[in-house]
Symmetry: C2
Subunit: 333 residues, 2 copies
């Protein structure tokens, strides 16, 4: 196992100490229970937003804590749900009296633990709404999930809801916006190689040199199928066709498009992939209003990519364009 770490069991903690040291102007990291929180939290009267999930998907979620996005993120161990006490402590830390939205990716552990945390917080008088993101069109159920998995749309939901909360919208409105984003966002991913969870010490799945996995999950969960290696044109066509057919995205729709690297895919390849996606959207008369190309929701050092399309109207686009100041997304400030 070739990794830049000391002891595998210390990776998450030591990385968080580094993250806190690097970005103390934006965030603070609290340990035991562990969460990353905006340096200026709690903000009186502002709807709080908390997300979280296993580590190994950076910059998600800690990289999205900051002005105009998340108030706090709870990192679990690598590919492991954070615990309810982390979520409870983070929720309390960011509640400014207006309640807190939990944005939860649909993985069984995350959903159960966020539910428990929400109940604990509600019992103490904090209003909590939860929205589960389930945008992955690849498979109906998977290794860690009942129903569809939550993937790339989570990034877009966190940005848009973060903007809404920053503008002073109330908990119910922000939660409804999150549901709207989830309803209108679809994703699918693929992998050229596996990743290795440090504590496991060996690749999560086997894949031959001449094969790739279509519909992979962000933890290396099996996808739709293992197929012979193909060119980027065919790969992006396969992903885009599944995504477009699912909503469905139609001629005349405007979208935010994300081409996301799984961790080890060079940026030069991601822009080539974006070129393919842009061509497909053009041919389908889907207009790309905004786009992200880079590593936003990763799977350690997996090679591959995912694409996400979010159908947007003027309301979502306006919130997208609002300023954001986090380590992972930053504009307008």
């Amino acid at each position: 196992m070739k990794k830049l770490l000391n002891q595998a069991q210390d990776l998450v903690k030591e990385s968080l100490v580094g993250f806190a040291a690097a970005h103390g102007d934006l965030v603070k990291v609290h340990f035991d229970p562990t969460y990353i929180v905006r340096a200026d939290a709690p903000i009186k009267g502002k709807t709080g937003i908390v997300s979280g999930g296993g580590s190994g998907h950076e910059p998600m979620h800690g990289g999205y804590v900051g002005k105009g996005m998340l108030d706090a993120a709870c990192p679990g161990e690598v590919f492991t749900s954070p615990t309810p006490d982390q979520m409870e402590a983070a929720t309390k830390a960011v509640d400014g009296g207006a309640g807190v939205l939990h944005i939860v990716k649909n993985y069984t552990g995350d959903v159960l633990n966020f539910e428990m945390a929400a109940e604990l917080c509600q019992a103490e008088g904090i209003a909590v709404e939860s929205v589960v993101i389930n945008d992955d069109v690849a498979v109906q159920d998977s290794l860690y999930t009942a129903g569809r998995r939550g993937v790339g749309t989570t990034v877009l939901a966190e940005k848009i809801c973060g903007a809404a909360a920053e503008k002073g919208l109330d908990l119910k409105t922000v939660a409804d916006l999150c549901r709207k984003v989830n309803d209108n966002g679809r994703s699918m991913g693929m992998a050229l190689t596996s990743c290795t969870v440090p504590l496991a010490g060996k690749p999560t799945f086997e894949i031959d040199d001449d094969q790739m996995e279509i519909g992979i999950g962000i933890h290396g969960e099996p996808g739709r199928q293992t197929v012979p290696l193909a060119g980027a044109r065919e790969i992006i066509q396969t992903l885009a066709a599944a995504v477009i057919a699912d909503l469905p995205f139609k001629s005349g729709d405007a979208v935010i498009a994300m081409v996301n690297g799984m961790g080890a895919t060079p940026l030069i390849e991601l822009y080539l992939a974006y070129n393919e996606l842009a061509g497909i959207c053009r041919r389908n008369k889907i207009s790309i209003a905004r786009r992200l190309v880079g590593n936003f929701i990763t799977s350690l050092e997996m090679a591959g990519c995912s694409i996400t399309l979010l159908k947007v109207d003027a309301e979502l686009l306006k919130l997208w364009d609002e300023p954001v100041l986090t380590t992972g997304l930053r504009w307008g400030i």
Copy 2:
């Protein structure tokens, strides 16, 4: 070879088409000869700044074209110098009458080609200054270089000189600032794995599962030594010790520190590496005034990292903090 591309020979071009499609608000891409240029170039009376080099190091250099950084970048084929006609065309495209600075990484091909381009431009009446960056402390000469290689300090030089040019400083002053950054910046890198140049189709170098390369170049050139795999603490100690001893950086110095991923290193590991570097600086009473942690000058899908320290004074720090709006670095706007 597992890569997200169509035909290997089309990677650079198709990626640039995608880059242009994604970021038309910031940049334009000109083909034949190929260069990336600020959408608002040329800017009358502003010192222009052009850099360039082989592709495969993204976001360098194209990702640093924009307000407050480069006016243009010339991408060569993967790990191959751009040609003088690219550099000449880019220089002409950005000259606003105040002359143009060439920031050149010290690789023999880049240096020769930029020299030829500078002569061609000067013959046509454009003032050109060239600064060669040679900050890599790993080796004196290497496969592609006489003298030290130019690596991470290039990013910092482009940011600082870009700010100076944006503020209206003249060519000579901006070039002198670039020399000052080069004089005060030092870097060293390491690799856990090799990368594969698409047209070569096989890894650039062989490395065993239990070995790593210390002092690697950004094209997979051999480093100081191939050694047994070690933990991050020992790795960063080795890199930092060589960097610190070289300038030397001394107790009381303030620095900009960069922990740079080579392409396939997860962000979670880079923050762990930053934690190690921060500890070393603290113990050496070197104060980290600003920092970058992420992928800034990469080697395709190589796993590994480099560290760069730049000794700064108030002048450099003020320019560092100036706004920048590029796809690779962005703040204050």
